[in-house]
Every structure is written in structure tokens, then in C-alpha cells.
Symmetry: D2
Subunit: 290 residues, 4 copies
Amino acid sequence: MSDIGCHALVWTGTFEREGLTRAVERTRNAGYDLLEIPLLRPHAFDVATAKEILADSDLDVSASMGLSDATDIGSADPEIVKAGEQTLNKAVEIVSELGGRHLCGVLYGVLKKYPGPATAQGRANSQDVLRRVARRAADSGVQLSLEVVNRYESNMFNTCKGALEYLDEVGDDSIKVHLDSYHMNIEESGMIAPVLAAADRLGYVHIGESHRGYLGSGTVDFGSFFRALAMVDYDGPIAFESFSTAVVDDILSVSLAVWRNLWDDSDDLGRHANDFIRGKLRAVETIALH
Amino acid sequence: MSDIGCHALVWTGTFEREGLTRAVERTRNAGYDLLEIPLLRPHAFDVATAKEILADSDLDVSASMGLSDATDIGSADPEIVKAGEQTLNKAVEIVSELGGRHLCGVLYGVLKKYPGPATAQGRANSQDVLRRVARRAADSGVQLSLEVVNRYESNMFNTCKGALEYLDEVGDDSIKVHLDSYHMNIEESGMIAPVLAAADRLGYVHIGESHRGYLGSGTVDFGSFFRALAMVDYDGPIAFESFSTAVVDDILSVSLAVWRNLWDDSDDLGRHANDFIRGKLRAVETIALH
Amino acid sequence: MSDIGCHALVWTGTFEREGLTRAVERTRNAGYDLLEIPLLRPHAFDVATAKEILADSDLDVSASMGLSDATDIGSADPEIVKAGEQTLNKAVEIVSELGGRHLCGVLYGVLKKYPGPATAQGRANSQDVLRRVARRAADSGVQLSLEVVNRYESNMFNTCKGALEYLDEVGDDSIKVHLDSYHMNIEESGMIAPVLAAADRLGYVHIGESHRGYLGSGTVDFGSFFRALAMVDYDGPIAFESFSTAVVDDILSVSLAVWRNLWDDSDDLGRHANDFIRGKLRAVETIALH
Amino acid sequence: MSDIGCHALVWTGTFEREGLTRAVERTRNAGYDLLEIPLLRPHAFDVATAKEILADSDLDVSASMGLSDATDIGSADPEIVKAGEQTLNKAVEIVSELGGRHLCGVLYGVLKKYPGPATAQGRANSQDVLRRVARRAADSGVQLSLEVVNRYESNMFNTCKGALEYLDEVGDDSIKVHLDSYHMNIEESGMIAPVLAAADRLGYVHIGESHRGYLGSGTVDFGSFFRALAMVDYDGPIAFESFSTAVVDDILSVSLAVWRNLWDDSDDLGRHANDFIRGKLRAVETIALH
């Protein structure tokens, strides 16, 4: 059965002791199984503190991330690519130390609006790095899942099909696809075909509304998405993601173009999303009775 | 704010002490505000017992009904019409004694597949009766709401527009329209326009899935329906309705053509629906923040 | 590639020379490939005339039907069952003589609201008959497809899953499932899973709106349905069906509970549906480019 | 009745004689009423040639545009703001000379991913300019409509509600809102409420799929959008917009983050969209018959 998780930015924009403590407490109170921590700057992340705070709770943990211009493994510059590989290895190490099993997100590049199409060299570079990082990750019991994001957040691929082609070229079956309903709503032909195409290569799922606010207050066809997850017997993590100007990280707010406030009460938002996700899972489960 | 209710047939197929007691307890445990009791045979209904059982709870109560061939006020036969008027008056009396404020359903005829179109005489007869019953109901603090049902359950009208035209002819503004998502999914052009058309003439709402099973496991566009209810500031009752061979009344099961089992655990079904409805209401409420 | 067809009742309520001639001409003018003729009373159908009229056109032809109370092969009465078998054989013969390859509809019983659940005996009887009729049909190059209809039109099965179980018991792979979007909208959990479940056992498709009026003016999720047809590479007939009081057969109008006028201009309706269906097919075809 | 239009970038990426001639011919052949020309660099646009080419056709014309960093009227730099005002005035002049009545798009700023939130000064500057430009436009019989675009293409407002607030501050009722289904799918709570909110302040409509490919091959709920347009009796232009790497302008391709090919046959795409839009309009028109 899937762990139901919540992205830490629902609760906190900082990840020192206080922020993490708040995120852990609120995530548990809202009824989730898992906390997803954004590793915005892996080398600056205080693993020991995080480990201690998580140890006091029964929450599972996962991490998501994107690279920066200085660590873009999709770059043509060998120095930048090398820095990216170190960052990814560091992130794998952190997840492993925290007892997590999933590292996901835009692991293949920067989460930004690129000024032009991806290059063949950049693509090959990123694939070489991921091949190596995936082997280390596998040794640490950590699974990598590459998030498919919209055209404004990556130029490498924007659909599940594109990600599968990219992964076919990488050739390491341990790397999975990470689908996010927010991005799918923009880029995919629908919410079902991509999930069926990924099938057991689906490794991580983000649940976000079309505008990244309350679930059910936008245009995403969640009914179809959850039906599809059931069709392929998906049992990996399902994590809620929402961004508002109420809680943001200074880097992410600009990357994600969060200009408005779609909620102000994190607790209400988080509880609502947890109930929403579990209610959808139960609803599609009952289809077997039909 | 709307009372969130549950149709008693989710819990019981009989309405003596035991059945009603179970319905009341389970409805409360599932988190609802209101119990909707089907008055299948008003003259046989034990009001005193029902009143006693309800008095022990803090639930609000409403009643729904359809007429029978012997009491069809849409008939051309004056005797049958007269019997129908007595039945409706009895039902109003029961609702009033129970402390309820809503009598809804197919108050204008039989819930059945008619063998031909409605007649002008039958239409006029039913309107005459409703005009008189509505006045008595108003005196008792009971509001009548006419349910719009699908083509297989009435030939009088099958859309909100049809109901509004029918009510315009009745000419008593105290009678309202009762919309049901299950029927709307079959007959209306969508889930929003009918609600906007009814606006403050909307008096009662049924929430049923397309197949009358778990909410979210069918084809009804609930997202649009709840948005529409918010657009017109609807604050009347919203009651969940579901039918399965697991719990049925012997008359209703045939009228409703319930041939299969869409659930077996009433408690799980009822809790799920209560959470679903409240979750949708909260989601559309947050649209104001956008 | 699928033949795109139109149900003859869009154009005519009678099937003598004049009615059929009109149906053939208008169906061609509206751009369709195929005319679906309802064999309401097979023994009274004038095959020679129909053959002559069709010969002058380049339209393909198919036939649909339902049995009557006197020919219900789902009955427990051997005489009625026998009469039903003769009727079905007659229908197969007609389709074959007309050069058609498809006989579809409620071939397993009466299209009516049954007064109670199907019986084991009736189910077995209908299956025995269909087993024999299917063999004769196969010899004539005619494929039988059993239409899945809603609870108010049959008690034998109301979902694709139910039909597949019924057909598994029949055990003759030549008999296929006939899905109709109008009925699916009421009974299925969605428009995709049933098609995937049927896959190459899908033999015939009806396209009808939720209220059986203009396509796109109701609640059916056609986008999902056409995506599903593409996913299973469906290439059988796709026929538009719509009913209005503007054109009806006296038997069907009551069976189908057609109480209102959803269109008055058959030509406009028919052209619109043909464009709608072809437009949807093209749209989902382009998904391969994504 | 609405003019149905097509964005010229469906046909050509250049706007000299050859490109414009092709755009005009193909737009007519595909069945449209109107050609929408992107005024990417107004001062470099050859009005005389465009006028001559358009004169030979019976197409109506409109223009859309966005400003550049050097002409951003939402800037705090007076020189840039002034340059922007000149550019807008030039564009108004062009539309007027071409005999057009509509100038739309991101008239209030640059179509780009901004590096931070809009500033109060920039907002005020853009409003001052628009107030003046609108008066000149009105004198020329040209209506300005401000396009609501997604968070990655503007930071000024991303919803219809935001645009209406912005326009309330401008205080000139002649300036209208321009809604685009592609952007609405990302930012709005649904496809109906924004249209009802704008009502007669809706001045221009773009029809784009969620991924900007073939209509009906993505996730946009067009059924709801066209119902809403009918509800407010919208009769302004409805223009199809689609972008692919098959045809792009070098500036726009990067602004719009077009990294993949969603079509290659402009003629097929354009005809399909024209049929799609007219089919939807007809479908919702028939709802009046229900």
C-alpha cells in the first residue's frame, strides 16, 4: 500500500531544527505517513538534526530536489557536470542516512525555464551521471525517480513518454519515473495513458492541483489519475505538494513562479489533502466491487 | 451553512424501532448532521417511535417520498388524486411532528417508468394538489421540494428547467426544486447551468454517484456541481443517497432497478461520503482565496 | 479503420421503402460510412426492398435489435425462448442478406425495465440460445455483439464486466461486447476501464450523449472514451444514436422513455455527430505525436 | 455571432509578403472568419503589404502582442515605459489601418517568466499607459483586451479575477479581458466561473489545448468553457492558437518554451480546430432545446 506523504514546504520554508520540527509534527497531525523534504542545498543540509527529529516520529521520509546552474548535469561544461554528480551523490547519502528510500524530482537538470532546447551533449552528460549515481543509490537502498515537469521548468522532457525514452537510453531499470499531476495537467494528453505507459516504471507520485492550491479547487482530473494508479497497482509514495506565498523558500518561490496566495492555513490545507487522497484511493478501490 | 445528511437506506431497509435506531446511530457516527427518512408508506409510519429515537440524538431530520399508483396525484382519476393528497398531507404532518423542515422527492407522482407521456389533465391535477399541500406545509414550517428524476422514474419533467416551468404554473414560490446529481448526470446538459437556473428556488440536494455507489467511483462531475452550489450560495440540506442490494426496501429495489451490489459496508460507505461532501465544500470555499 | 455509422431512427420512424430511402440518403449526405437499421420486428422486415435501396448506395449496413416479451430468450418459458431463437435466427439471416457483418443490441433479452432480478434459469436459457445462434451467424459472416445497457433497460448485466462474465459462461469467442456511451455514463466507473477490459472482445460501439441529444451537449466524457478506443486499437463500427420525439418508433419511444424533444433537425444533428466523431478520432490519433 | 479565428503562427513564422500570403490563404481554406496576426515587432511590421494581402480576402483581422524588456510598461524605468507606450500606440495604429477592431495579448508587460513579483510602481505605470492608449484606441475603433496568462508568462495577474481588479484600477471600461483556455487550465478554478465573472467585460477569447496541440488531445475542459461563453452571450472573436516546433518565430519559441512537435500538418490542424470550435458552439446552442 502506498505511503501518503506531504511536501515539507506546506509547513515550513526553512529546514533548521525549528522548521523541520514543525514540518514533522504537522505532517503527523494531518494524518500522513511520510514527509518529503526538499534538499534545496544538499551540502548545507544538517543531516544529524534531521535524523534526530525524524527518529522521534513514526513518519517515513523521502527527499526531492532540483539542481542549480552550478550543478546542472545537463550542462556541456564538464566542471559543472562533475559538481552536479557530487551534489546528487550527497543527496543520496542524506536520504540513506535519514532511512529514506526515495530521492525524486528534477535530478537530471535545473528546475528553471531554459533559454533554449536541450542539447545532445547535455542529455548524454546527464545520462552518464545518472547511470553512476543510480548504482550508488541502489547500494544504499535508495531509488531515484525522475520527475516529469512542464515546459517552463525543464527542456529535457515534459511528458512521461519523453522520460521513458530518456530512461531507455540510460539503460538502468532501477531509475524510475516520477509523475506529478500538476505538470501532467499541462503536458500530457490525459491522466491515464501516461500512468499505463510507465506502469511498473512509475516510482514516485506528486499530487498537486492545477494552480497548486487546495485539491479539488482547480482543473486536474484526479478521478482519472487515481483510477490509473489503481490499474497499474501502484504502491509507491503519493505525496501532496502545494505552494503559496504563505510559506516559501526564497529560491523555490522564484523558480516556481509563485505570485499569489492560494491558502494561508497550512493545517487545514494539509488535512484536507490527506483526506482527499485517501478518499480517492478508497473510491477507486471500490470499483472492484462493481 | 448546509446540513450534510444521509439517506436512511444506506443503513436500513426497515423503519421500525430497530431499523430507525440503527440508522440514527450510524448516521451520527459517520459524522452527518441530518438523517433523511424515506416515507414509503406514510400512513404506516410510526411517528411516535421515530420521534422518540430522534429525540435522543442531535440529528436533524428530513423526509423524502414518491407516490404509488393508488395515490398518484398526476393521475386523471379524481379518487386516486384525492388519495394522493391525503398521503402528502400525512407526510407533511409526519415531518412536522418529527421537527423536520423538509419534505422532498417525487411529490408530484409515482417514481416509476411510465408507459407513456404525462397528460395535461394529470399535470393540472398534480399542480392543484401541490398548491393546497404547500399551503398546509408552510403553516407547519415544512418546505416542499420537487425532485427532478430521470426519464425512467418520471414522465412529468426530467430537467431542472422542466421543473421550474412546472412550478411557474403552480405559482407558489414556497415550493422549491430538489436536484439530485445522479439524475442530473443523465438528463441535464451539465452540473452547473441547472443550479444557476434554480438559484434561490433550489430547496434540497441529493448527492448520488452515476451508479449510486461510492462517491468518486463513477462518472458524475461533482467538482462542477459543488462549484455551482457555492455560486448560488446554496445553504439547504445536502444529503447522500446510495442504493445497493446489501440494504434495500422491497418496493424501492424494484422501482430503482437495483440489480447489483456496489458496496457491502454501510459504515465505510457513509463515512466516505460524509468526508467527500465536506471535502468538496471546503475545496470550493477556498476558491474565494484565488 | 472504423466505419462511422448512424442509427436509422435519426432519420425515420418507419422502415418501408420511403423511410429506408430517406434514411439511406440522409446518412450518406451527412458523411457516414454505415447505416444501422433497428430490426424491431424481424419477421415483418421487407428484406428485398431494403437490399434494393442499399444497393444503390455505397453505405455499409448493420442491424440492432432487442427481443420482446413474446421472444425473450431470458425467459424461463421454453416456448418463449424458442420463439426468441427463431427471431434471432431471422435477424441474422436479414443482416446476411443485406450484406451486413454486424448484429448488435440487447440480443439476450427484452429492452425494458424488468420487474425483478434476472433468474439463473433465464440466464442459462439465453446463453444456450446465443451459443447456437452465434454458430449460424458465424457461418453467415455475421458477428453478434451484446449491448450493455443501463439498469432500466435490462436486468441481465449493466456493465462491461458483467457482460464479459456472461460471455465467459457462453464460451463462444465469436460473440463480442457492444458498448454504448449513453449507458456507460450511467453504469460504469468511467469511460476507459471498460474498454480496456473488453479490448479485442469489443465488437460494436454506440455513441450517444447522456440525454441522447446532440453530442457535446451533455455529460458524457467522450474524450476519455475515444482515447480508450484508440488504446485498444478498436477498428469496429462506431455508430451514432440519438432519440427525440421528433422521430420515433411507437414501440421504442416507450421502451426508451423518450418524453422530450432534444432536436428537431435530423440533418443538422446527423452532420454534427459525424463531424464530432471523426474529429475526436483525429484528435486522439495525434496523441501519438506527443 | 462570434468570428472564429486562427493565430497566424499556425501557418507561418515570418510575416513578410510570402508568410502573410500563406497565412491568409490557409486560414480561409480551413474555414475561418478571422486571422490573428502577432505583432511581434510593431515598428518593423509592413502594414502596406499586409493591408494589400488582406484586401484580397474576405477575412477579418485582429492582432495580438506582448511587450519586450525594452518596452515593458510594467517597468519602473520611465524611459522603458515611454518606449512601451509608443509601441502600443504603433500597434493600435496598425490594427486600425488593417481594418481590425481588436488588439489583444499581454499589452501590460512582457510575456516572460519574471524573476520576482510585480512591483506597485510597475503596476501603476502600466495602468497609466493603458489608460492613455485605450483612449487613442477607442478613437480608432480598436478595442484593447488584456490577456490573462499563466505564472510563467506574467507576474502581473494570472487569473480573470486578478485582471478584473487590475482593470477596475485602470477605470476605463473600454478595456476588456482576454481569456485563453490554455492559461485558464493552469490558473483558474475551472472554466466557467472566470467567464461568468468577466461577463460583458470579456473582449477576446483564445482557444488552446493544455499542451497547445490538437484540440481535444489534452486536458482542457472545453465543454465547460463553451457552455460558459454561451451563458454570457459572448459574441466577440474566438481564435485558435497552437504552437509547435514545426512553425515558430525565433523570439516566441523561447518565450513560450516550445520544445516539442505536437503537429506537423498545419492544414489538418487548422481545419480540425475550426470544425472543433464550430461543433462546440453548435452543441451548446442546442442546450436551449432541452
